[in-house]
């Protein structure tokens, strides 16, 4: 009897789990299926699965709706920012974790606290500044802004990791004859690789999805990043649901791929601040 009620509780729990999972990823699967169906197919039945997979739609969106352009713009902006961020952030994080100089904590908290700044407080001025220096509506300008935006979280994660590396390792390298920069390069950075990778993926995803700064700082079509491109396509081709879905899919596929390979790292990175 007890066994039976146990079993029923467990299956109830399992059903709840499945329901929640369906709720969480159902819309995504729906979007995925729409991206492979034509609009007329969708109009006849909105929630059916694809009978024939219209892969050509991806090619169509890619080639004829400028998605290749948006895609490469996003790749450029996100990759450049991520690389610059990780270099600058790792150097600063390493230094703040390892050198107890006067003002160390002040610098750390000054940079870290900007994590809570509302974007509006900077976005209007950044617009003005970029216009002034001819960087408005350029990918370089957007990249610079992204570097500034993601610096606090990058520094926070990397500094925390460098702090946990035992001091003896660095001392051993000093005794082995290495200077400050070489120790960073040959000891600190390789050991911090897990955190470096986490930060890189995290920044990549957040910047890949970024919308507010992009919508303010980019105006011309050939400079648009994917989120802007998708939004514009939605505005222009409102009724062509099938193609909108295909475009949206193109914009999330890289994230899904990254997530498939690094899910644990991404989850850890995103929740790093909250769990502690």
């Amino acid at each position: 009897m007890k066994q039976l009620s146990r079993l029923s509780v467990r299956s109830a729990l399992f059903i709840l789990l499945v329901l929640y999972t369906a709720y969480a990823i159902g819309p995504l699967i729906w979007l995925g299926s729409m991206s492979l169906r034509t609009t007329s197919e969708i109009d006849s039945s909105h929630y059916a699965l694809p009978n024939t997979f219209h892969w050509w739609k991806f090619h169509e969106a890619w080639a004829n709706s400028n998605y290749n352009n948006y895609f490469w713009n996003s790749v450029f902006v996100a990759t450049t920012s991520v690389l610059v961020l990780v270099v600058i952030g790792a150097m600063a994080g390493y230094c703040l974790a390892r050198y107890p100089f006067r003002g160390n904590r002040a610098v750390f908290f000054a940079i870290f606290s900007t994590i809570m700044l509302p974007p509006q407080i900077t976005v209007i001025s950044l617009f003005q500044i970029l216009v002034k220096y001819g960087l408005f509506d350029t990918l370089t300008g957007l990249t610079l802004v992204y570097i500034g935006v993601q610096m606090p979280i990058t520094l926070y994660i990397l500094e925390g990791f460098f702090k946990r590396i035992p001091r003896d390792l660095f001392d051993a390298a000093k005794i082995d004859g290495y200077g400050d920069f070489e120790i960073f390069w040959r000891i600190g950075l390789p050991i911090a690789m897990p955190a470096v990778v986490t930060v890189m993926i995290l920044n990549f995803i957040l910047l890949w999805n970024e919308f507010l700064y992009a919508v303010v700082l980019i105006t011309s079509d050939e400079k648009r990043t994917l989120p802007l491109g998708v939004q514009k396509f939605m505005g222009d081709q409102f009724s062509d649901i099938g193609m909108v879905a295909t475009g949206a899919m193109i914009s999330i596929i890289p994230v899904i791929i990254a997530y498939a390979f690094f899910s644990e790292k991404i989850i850890q990175g995103m929740t790093a601040g909250a769990v502690k």
């Binding site: 467990r10 729990l13 399992f14 709840l16 789990l17 999972t21 969480a24 990823i25 819309p27 729906w30 929630y47 600058i88 150097m91 600063a92 390493y94 230094c95 050198y99 100089f101 610098v107 940079i111 900007t114 994590i115 809570m116 700044l117 509302p118 509006q120 407080i121 900077t122 976005v123 209007i124 001025s125 003005q128 500044i129 802004v145 570097i147 500034g148 520094l155 926070y156 995803i205 999805n209 919308f211 507010l212 919508v215 998708v230 939004q231 939605m234 909108v244 949206a248 914009s251 999330i252 994230v255 997530y259 899910s263 644990e264 989850i267 929740t271 601040g273 909250a274 769990v275 502690k276």
Partner: protein, 301 residues
């Protein structure tokens, strides 16, 4: 014999400057300078091709009587207060349920967390379809339940639009809170939860009397995190409703954007004023929270 004694950090300054310099420079140029410039601009009327005209506190005075601004504040506060609570409560309930030894694998974790990673643009498009009057899943579901009377244009009516957006926000972020709560619940000592089982206090009682107090720091951290995050909400609103219909989903962020770049008012001073006020409000809230909960270092984006 004269010896020069090296101080601890003497001679390290060049290295320190080299390491921290780039980050600090970026921080000053891309964060501090724009923030100060925004605050400075808020005392000016700035129109293209005209010199900025100093107008003192006028922008702030105008703000006080700007009905749209106060509407935006109201909506943002509702959002920032309701959404985190819903997300955390839902996340916690699910976490405790799942913790009760239901089969659980990597797949589920990955699935629940995935909405967090989808860009707002895609989320917005997906959900405006789900809210579609004719074929959206929400109305289709109501029809299937024979509740045709409840059907409505969820994003099109001032009465429901804000709540419809909040639901989307909850959908996107519950997974995040769920994962964090799950980690925290797993961190609780096993005996505590088991002894509560012996005491036969009910399932909800267990959560309320045992789990919530023990997870209080995490939960408060999540709530504060959520609150600060929602105070900045922009993407979802801008893409789904642009603040409409009839200002019913206007938030501070969208209003700043509209005044700066969308309406052809051509004045950047006034939105700077709004941004400054809002920045001060968030700062105040954070200081308040941190002193009240003494939750140092727990506020991330």
């Amino acid at each position: 014999m004269s010896i020069w004694y090296r101080r601890e950090s003497n001679g390290q300054w060049p290295i320190i400057a080299l390491f921290v310099g780039p980050a600090l420079l970026g921080y000053i140029l891309l964060t501090i300078y724009p923030v100060l410039l925004t605050i400075y601009n808020s005392f000016f009327e700035i129109r293209p091709r005209n010199a900025a005209a100093f107008i003192g506190w006028k922008n702030y005075a105008a703000l006080a009587s700007d009905r749209t601004f106060w509407l935006a504040v109201r909506h943002t506060l509702i959002w920032a207060l309701v959404a985190p609570v819903l997300e955390v409560v839902l996340g916690l309930l699910l976490a405790v349920t799942i913790y009760a030894r239901a089969p659980l694998g990597r797949f589920f974790r990955v699935a629940w967390f995935s909405p967090v990673l989808i860009s707002y643009v895609v989320v917005a498009i997906m959900w405006s379809w789900l809210y579609n009057y004719d074929w959206g899943l929400v109305n289709a579901g109501l029809r299937a339940l024979n509740l045709e009377g409840l059907q409505r244009s969820w994003l099109g009516e001032p009465g429901t639009a804000l709540w419809a957006l909040i639901v989307v926000d909850v959908w996107k972020w519950t997974g995040f809170h769920l994962i964090v709560c799950l980690a925290a619940v797993h961190g609780l000592p096993q005996e505590v939860i088991e002894s509560a089982e012996m005491d036969n206090c009910g399932w909800l009682g267990k959560i309320y009397f045992i789990v919530v107090p023990m997870l209080a720091p995490t939960l408060i951290g999540l709530l504060v995190l959520g609150f600060v995050g929602k105070m900045k909400v922009f993407d979802l609103v801008w893409i789904m409703t642009q603040g409409g219909p009839l200002w019913s989903t206007e938030t501070v962020s969208t209003y700043v954007y509209k005044r700066a770049f969308d309406w052809n008012t051509f004045d950047l001073g006034y939105p700077c004023g709004i941004a400054t006020v809002w920045f001060a409000a968030i700062l105040l809230c954070v200081i308040l929270f941190t002193t009240v909960f003494r939750q140092r270092e727990k506020l991330e984006y």
